[in-house]
């Protein structure tokens, strides 16, 4: 499934922040973590982590699930591939247009 520009916008916006990238990288590297754990690792308040997780979650980059007494967050790599696929699709449209331009000016 290719992301629509709107989805891609949410993805790029979510990735456009250092703390969020750190949180995401931490989840990708070391697996699921709680807000408390992420807050310690990223050296930011729990409140801030909660806010960043909400943005990442809306963009489909992380998902949270209750695990016993803890609420654990994990990285969703599908969200990242979606962002890359969106750009690939725009690039494909350019390839089509440029090959038509080539035929047009060389005719």
């Amino acid at each position: 499934m290719t992301a629509t520009p709107h989805r891609a916008a949410a993805l790029f916006a979510a990735l456009g922040d250092e703390t969020r990238l750190r949180v995401l990288l931490r989840l990708a590297q070391h697996g699921p973590a709680s807000i408390a754990g992420l807050s310690t690792d990223a050296d930011v308040s729990r409140q801030a982590v909660t806010k960043h997780l909400r943005v990442l979650s809306r963009a489909g980059l992380v998902s949270g699930r209750r695990h016993g007494r803890e609420h654990l967050w994990r990285c969703r790599p599908a969200g990242l591939t979606e962002a890359q696929r969106y750009l690939a699709r725009v690039a494909e449209q350019w390839d089509g247009a440029l090959s038509r331009l080539k035929d047009f000016v060389e005719a």
């Binding site: 591939t81 440029l98 038509r100 080539k102 047009f104």
Partner: protein, 150 residues
């Protein structure tokens, strides 16, 4: 040649720069290869509108706000993002499209750059300045590498 915040393409066209310039900036000629039906000519500072003529996508609107027409080297415009499925114009900053032309022994080296994807959402703008040291490519690549290793 793709960064994650821009799309860049280069193509050598077997036609003189003047010919390519015409094909890019004359709105009727542009429409023939880009497959759009445009209502008016391209003019710096003005917006040209029309719709796609690509079979199956006729509902897609086309809109380009021309920024520069530096004959015969640079033609650029900004266009809004539309939802591919519905044609709805999205409330996001437009991306910038640039056509750079260079003479290569009577042929034309054309470079197309579409940029500004990282700015699709306004809240990102100031933050991207701090991101300069590490591009999107690198960051996304890093994360995917970790994930794929598992």
């Amino acid at each position: 040649m793709n960064n994650d915040d821009r799309i860049e393409r280069e193509i050598l066209l077997n036609a003189p720069v003047a010919r390519v310039w015409q094909a890019l900036t004359d709105h009727r000629q542009f429409g023939e290869w880009f497959l759009v039906d445009l209502e008016g000519p391209f003019e710096v500072g003005a917006t040209t509108t029309g719709h796609t003529t690509y079979p199956g996508y006729e509902f897609l609107p086309f809109e380009a706000a021309v920024e520069r027409m530096d004959e015969p080297r640079l033609f650029s415009f900004r266009w809004p993002q539309c939802d591919f499925e519905t044609g709805t114009r999205l409330d996001e900053p437009p991306t910038l499209v640039e056509f750079h032309l260079e003479d290569r022994d009577g042929k034309t080296l054309l470079r197309v750059v579409e940029s500004g994807f990282e700015k699709l959402s306004p809240e990102v703008r100031e933050r991207t300045l701090r991101m300069n040291s590490s591009g999107w490519s690198e960051q996304i690549g890093n994360i995917l590498r970790y994930v794929e290793r598992e």
